[in-house]
């Protein structure tokens, strides 16, 4: 049923139009107007009471479909990683994945770039695109064979699909679960030097430049990696990169008590790289802030560190942790919304992520100052494996809309 309503008395934050006070008018599934607008008589009025109104989050690169966690975090669309069971490399599974969360959560599958993510044979990218895939990816692994990676980029480029790559040289990484350095040495954990990331980025950037393909590096976490991305952007290569709050806020010291919630992929880096991440966020090198949502239960986390599965439950903490960086004046709130909504939407080729008229009414209203405590034992996610357990944060989603329908 078509509904017209206005969200009034809000602090509007749009990645394109900027921040202002005003209202958003929704007709049916789309935004009819926003800003200093006249509210029609037929519209229901929802008073936001001075809260922030922004585009709902598009979370690029989640591993699990977790609707409650996404809604709690203001997420209405996710780019689903191909590392599923079965792997997203067939049109049937891609199509099923694309429909599984609707209407409340729209899933945009990232299809496997190679069959079975094995890094050998090209997957049916065009067929999977027609089945609903919005990008192709290498999953949690990198493609070791440079010849195959070149073909992936070239072929995906023909189709206009972005290739989402995991930038870590698998040969250097081996069985590592930590970044080489004092912490890994003291803990006796298998580790790999941080340069594994830059090695992979350098190769993929050269191949992207040569093929002209669009490349998104799902997570860049090292100073050397960002230097390469900056240089590539200056040369006009179609590259974007993302990061999660964990790599911005935590260094490898957080692993010191063998807490497996800090076992991530890529692993937490040292303090100098963490600072480089913040710098890259501030200077615009980073394009996407994502949750890396990968909830893991005790069967996979209550293990010795090296035996545990990497990953964190990040969806419901993404916004609150990100707002901390606005509060610390690393970025503006408008840029934050670009990182969380407009930029990931653009990479996936989605017409959403701003408050412009005509856009889908994917909206969130949040109280940027609402305090709460991240508590691993009381999260709505499938599992509470957050490395931020016990951290006080501010920022809570109060209302959430997908295509004009209220979800929260």
């Amino acid at each position: 049923m078509s509904r017209t309503f206005a969200l009034t008395n809000a602090n509007l934050v749009c990645p394109v139009a900027g921040a202002s006070k005003g209202a958003v008018l929704v007709r049916g599934e789309t935004i009819a107007a926003s800003g200093d607008i006249r509210i029609p008589k037929d519209a229901d009025v929802i008073d936001c009471k001075g809260a922030t109104l922004a585009p709902a989050i598009v979370d690029l690169g989640v591993f699990t479909i977790d609707i409650p966690a996404c809604h709690a975090g203001g997420i209405v669309r996710v780019g689903l990683m191909p590392d599923q069971t079965p792997v997203l490399d067939e049109p049937g599974v891609v199509q099923r994945a694309a429909l599984i969360g609707r209407p409340g959560l729209w899933i945009h599958p990232i299809a496997a770039a190679t069959r079975g993510l094995a890094g050998q044979d090209l997957a049916e990218m065009a067929i999977n695109r027609d089945a609903g895939a919005r990008a192709v990816g290498t999953g949690e692994r990198w493609i070791a064979d440079s010849g195959v990676m070149r073909k992936v980029l070239a072929y995906a480029g023909d189709l206009g699909l972005t290739v989402i790559a995991h930038p870590e040289d698998g040969g250097v990484v081996g069985e590592a679960v930590a970044t080489s350095g004092e912490t890994a040495t003291r803990m006796g954990l298998p580790s790999a030097p941080a340069i594994a990331e830059a090695l992979a980025i350098a190769r993929d950037l050269m191949l992207a430049e040569e093929t002209g393909a669009k490349l998104h590096l799902r997570q860049v976490t090292t100073a050397a990696g960002f230097d390469l991305v900056r240089a590539a952007k200056r040369r006009g290569i179609a590259v974007t990169c993302g990061i999660t709050p964990a790599h911005l806020l935590l260094s490898d010291i957080a692993m010191s008590d063998f807490r497996t919630f800090t076992h991530l992929s890529p692993p937490l880096r040292d303090e100098s790289d963490r600072r480089a991440c913040l710098q890259a966020l501030a200077d615009g090198t980073i394009d996407v802030l994502c949750s890396g949502h990968d909830p893991r239960g005790p069967e996979e986390k209550r293990l010795p560190f090296a035996d545990s599965a990497p990953g964190m439950a990040g969806a419901e903490t993404l916004l609150a942790l990100a707002l901390g960086m606005v509060r610390d004046e690393v970025i503006t709130v408008e840029r934050l919304m670009a990182l969380l909504s407009a930029n990931p939407a653009a990479i996936l080729g989605l017409e959403t992520g701003t408050l412009a008229a005509g856009m889908p009414a994917d909206l969130m209203v949040f109280d940027a100052d609402a305090p709460w405590l991240i508590d691993a034992d009381h999260m709505v996610a499938i599992a509470g494996n957050t490395p931020f357990d016990g951290l006080p944060v501010q920022g809570k989603v109060r209302r959430l809309f997908k295509g004009g329908a209220e979800l929260l």
């Binding site: 080489s180 350095g181 010795p304 090296a306």
Partner: protein, 329 residues
């Protein structure tokens, strides 16, 4: 803080001298706590050399040696130590059963706990596994080696051997050579020896040298001959082929050429240098038999002897609270 500025253990009363519930590593121990354990070990050395080796400290207590990774020497040492203190010693060879890892590890810890063990000795192939179990049980836990992380009783027995042979650990130039990357013995020894104010040099090819060693207060070398200059103690480590995947060295032959301890090479150290090895040795690889069996320099069998004394001391100290020893309750 190092031994040069620590308070002597004698200044502490009762359990204040060693307030820890478990012994999961040397990391976190103060120098005086290490010295206390060494002092406690001393009394068991003479006892073990006497005819009557049996004592009553752990009488009625159950000691479970849960070894998730194969071991002969350490298991035997802990078993003898427990039996000499009259504990009921049970060995669980988890490595040979289907119990390998995963949730089963926690389940095993809870099972051991439910069986009312009074002290649990654990060896496990994963770094941090012992700490994981220690968090789940009510009794003291002793780390008998976890992955590449720590092997605290080995470090204590090595420190005791050095102290008895050289009079003090402080000021000794100790060279640790071999597979540092995969060695829990190296990590625990570095922590213990630097805490006790020894000068520690570590030596390995770069492929077997972990990052950030300097930050652990040691000097890294890749040239063994350089590292040996003026050494008081040379501690050789075994090449841990079972922990290696991929080639870290070209061959054992080449490793021996660059890092094998021969009599000729040993001449670079001090004339009264002490040679140590945690065993088992790869003779002809990291150490020549002429060195390993040298009657003057080699302290390798003495290390084994000290091992029993150190483990008796650790079992005694960690169970004092449960036994309501005066000043420890």
């Amino acid at each position: 803080m190092s031994a040069s500025d620590h308070r002597p253990a004698s200044q502490f009363a009762g359990s204040a001298v060693f307030p820890h519930r478990h012994l999961t590593g040397i990391d976190g121990l103060q120098p005086h706590e290490i010295m206390f354990l060494l002092d406690e070990s001393e009394q068991w050395i003479d006892s073990n050399r006497s005819r009557d080796k049996s004592h009553k400290q752990l009488r009625g207590l159950t000691q479970i040696n849960a070894f998730f990774e194969n071991s002969t020497r350490t298991l035997l040492s802990f078993e003898i130590a427990g039996k000499r203190l009259r504990a009921d010693v049970v060995n669980m060879h988890a490595a040979q059963s289907s119990v390998k890892k995963g949730e089963t590890l926690i389940d095993t810890a809870m099972t051991l706990n439910a069986m009312r063990a009074d002290v649990i000795v654990i060896r496990h192939q994963s770094s941090g596994a012992v700490r994981l179990i220690a968090d789940k049980v009510d009794c003291p836990v002793l780390n008998a080696g976890d992955g590449r992380h720590e092997h605290p009783t080995q470090a204590l027995l090595d420190a005791l051997t050095i102290r008895r042979r050289r009079g003090s650990v402080a000021g000794q130039r100790v060279v640790i050579c071999g597979d540092i990357l995969h060695s829990r013995v190296a990590r625990s020894n570095i922590l213990a020896l630097t805490a006790l104010a020894a000068e520690v040099r570590v030596c390995a090819p770069s492929t077997l040298m972990p990052a950030g060693m300097e930050r652990m207060g040691v000097t890294p070398f890749t040239d063994f001959d350089q590292a040996l200059e003026g050494a008081d103690v040379v501690m050789m480590l075994r090449l841990q082929n079972e922990r290696m995947s991929g080639g870290f060295i070209p061959s054992n032959r080449e490793f021996h050429l660059r890092y094998g301890l021969t009599l000729a090479r040993l001449a670079r150290a001090k004339p009264d240098v002490l040679v140590m090895h945690p065993g088992p040795m790869n003779r002809g690889v990291e150490i020549d038999s002429a060195v390993a069996d040298h009657v003057v320099h080699s302290a390798i069998t003495e290390q084994v002897e000290m091992g029993v004394a150190v483990r008796m001391a650790c079992l005694d100290v960690l169970t004092r609270r449960a036994r309501r020893v005066k000043g420890w309750s």
